[in-house]
């Protein structure tokens, strides 16, 4: 409750601090405008043409529908990865043997390019939802796993011993000693996984599916419709920026403040 209240109190100043980011994005728009004027609309549609196409796609429901489909796939794969990655990572972190054993496997998973997983997923799941969901899961799982593993491995032993000496109740041990520490490793991993999942789902859809943002992007490309392509890209980027700045960043600030206070 206190967290919510302080977040709401800081909301106006947080939102106002977004002007710096808006300024940078507008400078990017200017560069986009310059390049499109230099090379012509066929190569790169002008920003206003892309926005007009965006509006059109939004009004005829194509865009919201595609976003919902893509969002569902990305979230399914991500939730699977968050659940399994966090659980298994924590388990692996508790045991040194398990940690030692799992490290090379995670390295292999991390090193494997998502496009290779996509090829396998297409063979296994065809053009169904399974392909993007599996690709998202398998690409984000190792990131979450390694975050949870490191969080569990690096719990301060002295703090642990002190808590045990003082015979802290189990609930307190969990919420005041273990979780805050583990969360400081887990949260950045979750954030990175979220960003990654969105990019991967679009790539998977582009190659494997008939619907969703990625598939629509492929259709726009095949029609040489530069304005629609840019409109889809704008939609993806806007959603990513919205999640990053309106959802994750405020949480990140609260978490960081709490870490500073704890220190």
């Amino acid at each position: 409750m206190h967290l919510l209240r302080s977040t709401l109190r800081e909301l106006p100043s947080y939102l106002w601090s977004g002007w710096g980011a808006i300024c940078s994005l507008l400078l990017l728009m200017a560069a986009w405008q310059l390049v499109s004027e230099l090379y012509g609309s066929l190569v790169l549609a002008q920003p206003l043409e892309a926005f007009a196409s965006f509006k059109h796609l939004w009004n005829n429901q194509t865009l919201p529908e595609a976003l919902i489909i893509t969002g569902r796939r990305a979230l399914s794969g991500l939730l699977l990865a968050l659940g399994l990655g966090t659980g298994l990572g924590l388990l692996a972190g508790v045991s040194v043997t398990a940690a030692m054993m799992s490290r090379p496997l995670v390295t292999v998973l991390l090193g494997m390019p998502p496009i290779a997983w996509l090829v396998l997923a297409m063979l296994w799941f065809g053009a169904s939802d399974g392909t993007p969901i599996f690709t998202v899961f398998v690409a984000t799982f190792p990131m979450v796993f390694i975050g949870a593993l490191q969080g569990a491995r690096t719990v301060d032993n002295q703090l642990n011993e002190m808590a045990q000496t003082l015979q802290l109740p189990k609930r307190m041990m969990l919420f005041d000693v273990y979780l805050p520490h583990v969360f400081s490793y887990l949260f950045p991993a979750w954030v990175a996984a979220l960003g990654m999942s969105w990019k991967i789902v679009v790539m998977a859809e582009l190659l494997a599916n008939q619907d969703g943002v990625g598939a629509s992007l492929a259709v726009a490309r095949s029609h040489l419709d530069s304005a629609a392509s840019m409109a889809w890209i704008v939609a993806i980027v806007l959603l990513l920026l919205g999640i990053e700045y309106l959802f994750l960043e405020p949480i990140k600030r609260q978490v960081e403040r709490w870490r500073v206070t704890e220190a």
Binding site: R9, W19, C23, L27, M29, A30, L48
Partner: protein
């Protein structure tokens, strides 16, 4: 003559000249717009005359007065000698006379006096601005050099028989950058004084607010960069759509500077609020210009006037009140006329910006804007002229703050 109180400090003659010339220029312009009289024949045309006189006359004199007074303080160098600032003031007056009479005298005399003034101001201050390695004033130096360069460009266009309006637009942009640089300096003092004036015990809601105002250089520099970038591209490609995005970026960068200003209740006192309004006018002016470049049916002159009346006139007024009074040995003016004038300038800016939108009555809006502006600066002259013309009440003999 040199012992008259008006010669005590550089700002005194310049601030007086600024007010008088601004009032005469705008009075003549308003009468011309209402069809009461015709303006003196100049070589550049009437719109250029109006913009040039308010920029290189009214605003430039205020800037010169402020900079010649403040730079010795900022750079820890001796006060500017009377002969120097009076010489510059004479050059400025000659610039006005020759420009107004350029229809008869030709371009060369006005080019020599006006370029001479801008260039002379920069060249004279340049060694001071960069002499102290710990207190180098690069941004001020570049701003003054920019204004001198714009003056040279303006007259080179006139001499080549080209329409020189682009230089005046560039001048407005340069002034906007200078306002961002200057306002942050003045704000360090006025906002912090307002914070100190508040009761010490903060309530719970104020706990997260900063204890003092700090002007963040990266935010300020970003704003200066964006404003100058738009100014440069607009100068090179006046019709290009890229200007739209750059103007919007400039607006966002100005709003970004306001992050420094959100210091809680201290903001709601008259002096911080004036500068806060200046930033808002600048940002909205750039938004209007940006949308106009991107194809919205908005008159560009609305944007330029939000910048020039809301941005420049209001900041000139604030500087005259703050710098003019404190360097004359007076405390800041707490009387109500200051708020009245601020409101009048705001009305002038908004009514002028609305002219040309939809089917609003053009001439009536010009009349409201012009007359409120004239009323605002007439009141200012009435209250500030005695301050500039009389000896200091504290017995001081120069530019120092109240003893």
């Amino acid at each position: 003559m040199l012992n008259h109180p008006v010669c005590l400090c550089a700002f005194r003659p310049f601030f007086l000249l600024s007010l008088v010339s601004g009032l005469i220029s705008l009075f003549l312009w308003l009468g011309f717009l209402q069809g009461w009289w015709v303006l003196p024949a100049t070589t550049s045309g009437i719109i250029v005359w109006h913009a040039h006189e308010l920029l290189f006359g009214f605003v430039m004199a205020s800037l010169a007065g402020f900079i010649l007074t403040a730079m010795p303080e900022f750079t820890r160098t001796p006060d500017v000698r009377r002969q120097i600032f009076l010489g510059l003031a004479v050059l400025w007056v000659l610039g006005r006379i020759t420009f107004w009479a350029s229809g008869w005298l030709g371009i060369v005399p006005t080019a020599i006096t006006n370029v001479g003034f801008s260039l002379g101001l920069w060249l004279y201050l340049q060694p001071r601005l960069l002499v102290n390695p710990l207190r180098r004033q690069w941004l001020f130096s570049m701003g003054l050099a920019g204004m001198a360069g714009i003056s040279i460009g303006f007259y080179s266009d006139l001499l080549r028989d080209l329409y020189p309006m682009r230089w005046l637009h560039a001048g407005i942009g340069m002034m906007m950058a200078l306002i961002v640089i200057t306002a942050s300096r003045i704000a360090m003092r006025i906002v912090n004084e307002s914070i100190e004036a508040l009761p010490i015990n903060k309530d719970e809601n104020d706990q997260d607010l900063p204890d003092e105002y700090r002007s963040t250089p990266p935010r300020r520099n970003l704003a200066v960069f964006c404003i100058l970038l738009y100014t440069a591209t607009h100068f090179i490609w006046p019709q290009a759509s890229v200007n739209g995005w750059l103007a919007l970026a400039a607006a966002a960068s100005v709003f970004n500077v306001l992050n420094d200003w959100h210091v809680g209740r201290a903001l709601f006192s008259r002096w911080p609020l004036q500068f806060y309004a200046v930033y808002w006018f600048m940002a909205v002016g750039y938004i209007v210009l940006g949308l106009q470049h991107l194809g919205m049916p908005i008159p560009a002159s609305s944007g330029w006037h939000l910048l020039s009346i809301g941005g420049m006139s209001l900041s000139v007024f604030s500087v005259l009140c703050i710098s003019g009074r404190t360097h004359s040995g007076h405390q800041l003016d707490e009387r109500n006329w200051v708020n009245l004038v601020t409101c009048l300038i705001i009305i002038a800016a908004i009514s002028r910006a609305l002219a040309g939108w939809l089917d609003l009555p053009l001439n009536l809006l010009y009349l409201i804007s012009g007359s409120t502006w004239l009323a605002a600066f007439s009141i200012t002259l009435y209250y500030l002229a005695p301050v500039f013309l009389k000896p200091r009440p504290d017995g001081g003999k120069g530019c120092e703050e109240p003893l």
